[in-house]
């Protein structure tokens, strides 16, 4: 006999653990198992091009850390993304502050406008920068036209700073939005109270605005820092020699050099690096201070 609908619902209701099945299965199949496989591969032994055998060796990790090139690439990556992140916060903060304090009523529309460029294809956006920063780009033409330089210089493109600029363009809305939300939730009376208690504008900013913005800053770092660390398309397209990042190295080992064990070991190291950096940020910014 088939159970009635109601009977089935009570049966399900008593077995709460059933609710966990879909989400857990999803995460397990698409997230935890692939990561476990990735980690597992990183202990295999490389034989020759696209040939490796199962093993439990640390030689890939050793090779990564003993090679002066790979560690330098990793540090270079952290440096480039760090600079981009810092500049993003510096540029994003005034924008978010302005929207939160002065355009409250039409803030949603402004945020929407900021999001429109994000809808444009990612590769096209990267290429678009070539028309600005490239040798025949707008910047060079402008500088030649006003007579600052005599002929176009190839210095604005194909270097690490081009990565910083393109990365900033890529992620700016994702920095502004969490900062805006943080700032919006600070009642006006807090600023007024600080002024009333004797704080100047700068003191109010340092002692009230900035500390209360920590969740927004931390969220922006979470959203931007981790994916940007693993970026390979931007450095490949605009980075040049000084902009070689760990994402390029992994891609290269995976597709060209055919050394999957080394590529996966580098991925695991990148993952660990991301976690460490995020951990340090949480420690510095003291997320828990807001929820004690």
């Amino acid at each position: 006999m088939l159970p009635s609908r109601k009977g089935l619902l009570t049966w399900l209701g008593r077995r709460r653990w059933i609710n966990w099945i879909p989400s857990t299965t999803y995460l397990l199949l698409l997230f935890y198992i692939p990561i476990a496989m990735l980690m597992y591969y990183s202990f295999w032994r490389y034989l020759k091009l696209f040939r490796f055998e199962p093993a439990l060796t640390l030689e890939n990790y050793l090779r990564f850390f003993t090679s002066p090139i790979y560690t330098r690439v990793l540090l270079n990556t952290i440096f480039i993304v760090g600079v981009a992140m810092a500049l993003l916060l510096i540029v994003g903060f005034p924008i978010a502050y302005f929207i939160a304090r002065y355009v409250r009523s039409s803030a949603d529309r402004i945020i929407l406008l900021m999001l429109i460029p994000v809808e444009i294809n990612y590769l096209i956006r990267i290429f678009a920068w070539r028309t600005i920063l490239g040798e025949n780009g707008i910047l060079n033409s402008f500088l030649v036209a006003v007579g600052v330089i005599e002929k176009p210089l190839p210095i604005f493109f194909y270097n690490w700073f081009a990565i910083v600029i393109v990365t900033m363009h890529e992620w700016l809305p994702y920095v502004v939005i969490p900062l805006y939300i943080s700032l919006r939730s600070i009642p006006r009376s807090l600023y007024e109270a600080a002024h009333d208690l004797g704080a100047s504008r700068l003191q109010t900013f340092l002692k009230i605005t900035l500390p209360l913005c920590k969740p927004g800053i931390l969220t922006a770092i979470f959203i931007v820092f981790i994916p940007a660390l693993g970026e390979f398309a931007i450095p490949a397209l605009v980075g040049g020699k000084s902009g070689y990042m760990i994402g390029n190295m992994i891609e290269n080992q995976l597709l060209a050099a055919g050394n999957w064990p080394l590529a996966t070991a580098a991925s695991v190291i990148l993952l660990a690096t991301s976690l460490i950096i995020v951990g340090i940020m949480v420690k510095i910014l003291g997320m828990e201070a807001l929820y004690r």
Binding site: P187, S189, L190, E192, A193, A194, H195, D196, L197, G198, A199, S200, Q203, K207, I208, P211, L212, K214, A289, L290, R292
Partner: protein, 357 residues
């Protein structure tokens, strides 16, 4: 003179928020600014604190013109309506905020914070988060944060709004004590007339941006300067009428229910014979009797409602023309029942007369 406002005007676009406000408060006095929401009372407080600049007029504190001084250059401190405690700082750090900005050394900060915390009985909360203390305690922290700076003038913008009635009444007693103890000038804004009566040395009643009356509690209650004040503070019975006679110290008014006599000192304005006026009598100033007495101002009425609420008994009476009048008394056993015919009377000294154009 601790605080003096001269001809303060404030406009928001086309709206006049404050119109020609003049105010004087002596040192050590507690002034309550009483008004409905939108009356301009908070704007007035913000002008005193410096958070808002007046469009016209001057603000003087201890004789010094501070009209265009920013809030951090004034010897005032404000307790905000939402308290505005800093959520990322604990109780101690909140109270110490102003002292630290003024670069007091750590020992001095600690001594002064402890002192004020003890006075407000929050000394064992100092290391707690402001999010994890009760509403009443948050109140005290906000007060402490301002009082620790020893401001010449403490400004309070409806700080008790979030508390329940019982707690508020306790706070009234405590605030009053505290104000006497610290002996500085307080300006307290509220829309609650009971709060005003409980706290004030002086009351300023404000309506649509204008001060209607500035006076002691007794002045404002016994002799309200305008119809608005009369209806806003306490309860008042109103009768419409026309002046029939002005003679020496006595004014006679013909109302639909009979003649009412008033003494001139309670008459606002200079009504002439024939002028339309409104007569106001407080419910507790009316006597109620079974038989008519010889007094002037005696009317007949019928008991329509009796309501005993603890200390007071309120009678609602119907007058011959169908209008109603309220009477309050503290005596409980008067032996009247619904429907009884009674006589009411009052003294001419208790009658307020307002000219209604």
């Amino acid at each position: 003179m601790s605080l003096k406002l001269e001809n303060i005007h404030k406009f928001f676009g086309h709206i006049t928020a404050l119109k020609n406000v003049n105010l004087e408060v002596n040192k050590g006095e507690l002034l309550v600014i009483l008004g409905t929401s939108g009356s301009g009372k908070s704007t007035l407080l913000r002008i005193i604190s410096g958070l808002e600049k007046p469009d016209k007029g001057r603000v003087l504190i201890n004789g010094r013109d501070v009209t265009y001084e920013p809030p951090y250059n004034r010897p005032t401190s404000m307790v905000f309506q939402d308290l505005a405690l800093f959520p990322h700082l604990n109780v101690f750090e909140n109270i110490a905020f102003g002292l630290k900005i003024r670069k007091y050394d750590r020992r001095e900060v600690e001594i002064r914070v402890k002192e004020v915390a003890e006075m407000l009985r929050i000394n064992d909360l100092l290391d707690r988060s402001v999010a994890k203390i009760s509403g009443g305690q948050r109140q005290r922290v906000a007060l402490a944060r301002s009082l620790v700076l020893h401001p010449d003038i403490l400004l309070l913008d409806e700080p008790l709004g979030a508390l329940d009635m019982k707690l508020r009444m306790d706070m009234w007693v405590e605030l009053k004590k505290l104000q006497r103890q610290v002996a500085n000038t307080w300006v307290f804004v509220t829309h609650d007339q009971h709060e005003a009566m409980a706290l004030a040395d002086k009351i300023a009643v404000i309506n649509t941006g204008e001060i209607q009356q500035l006076g002691t509690k007794d002045e404002v209650y016994d002799s309200p300067a305008s119809l608005f004040v009369a209806s806003f503070i306490g309860e008042m019975n109103f009768l419409e009428g026309r002046v029939t006679e002005v003679k020496g110290d006595v004014l006679k008014v013909e109302t639909p229910v009979g003649e009412v006599e008033a003494t001139m000192q309670r008459v606002k304005g200079r009504p002439e014979t024939g002028a339309r006026v409104t007569v106001g009598i407080r419910p507790e100033k009316i006597q109620i009797t079974k038989t008519p007495n010889d007094c002037i101002n005696t009317l007949s009425a019928r008991v329509s409602e009796i309501n005993f609420s603890g200390v007071l008994t309120t009678y609602e009476l119907e007058l011959p023309d169908g209008s109603r009048i309220k009477i309050q008394t503290t005596s409980r056993q008067m032996g009247y029942r619904q429907g009884d015919k009674v006589y009411i009377s009052w003294s001419p000294e208790d009658v307020n007369v307002y000219v209604t154009q």
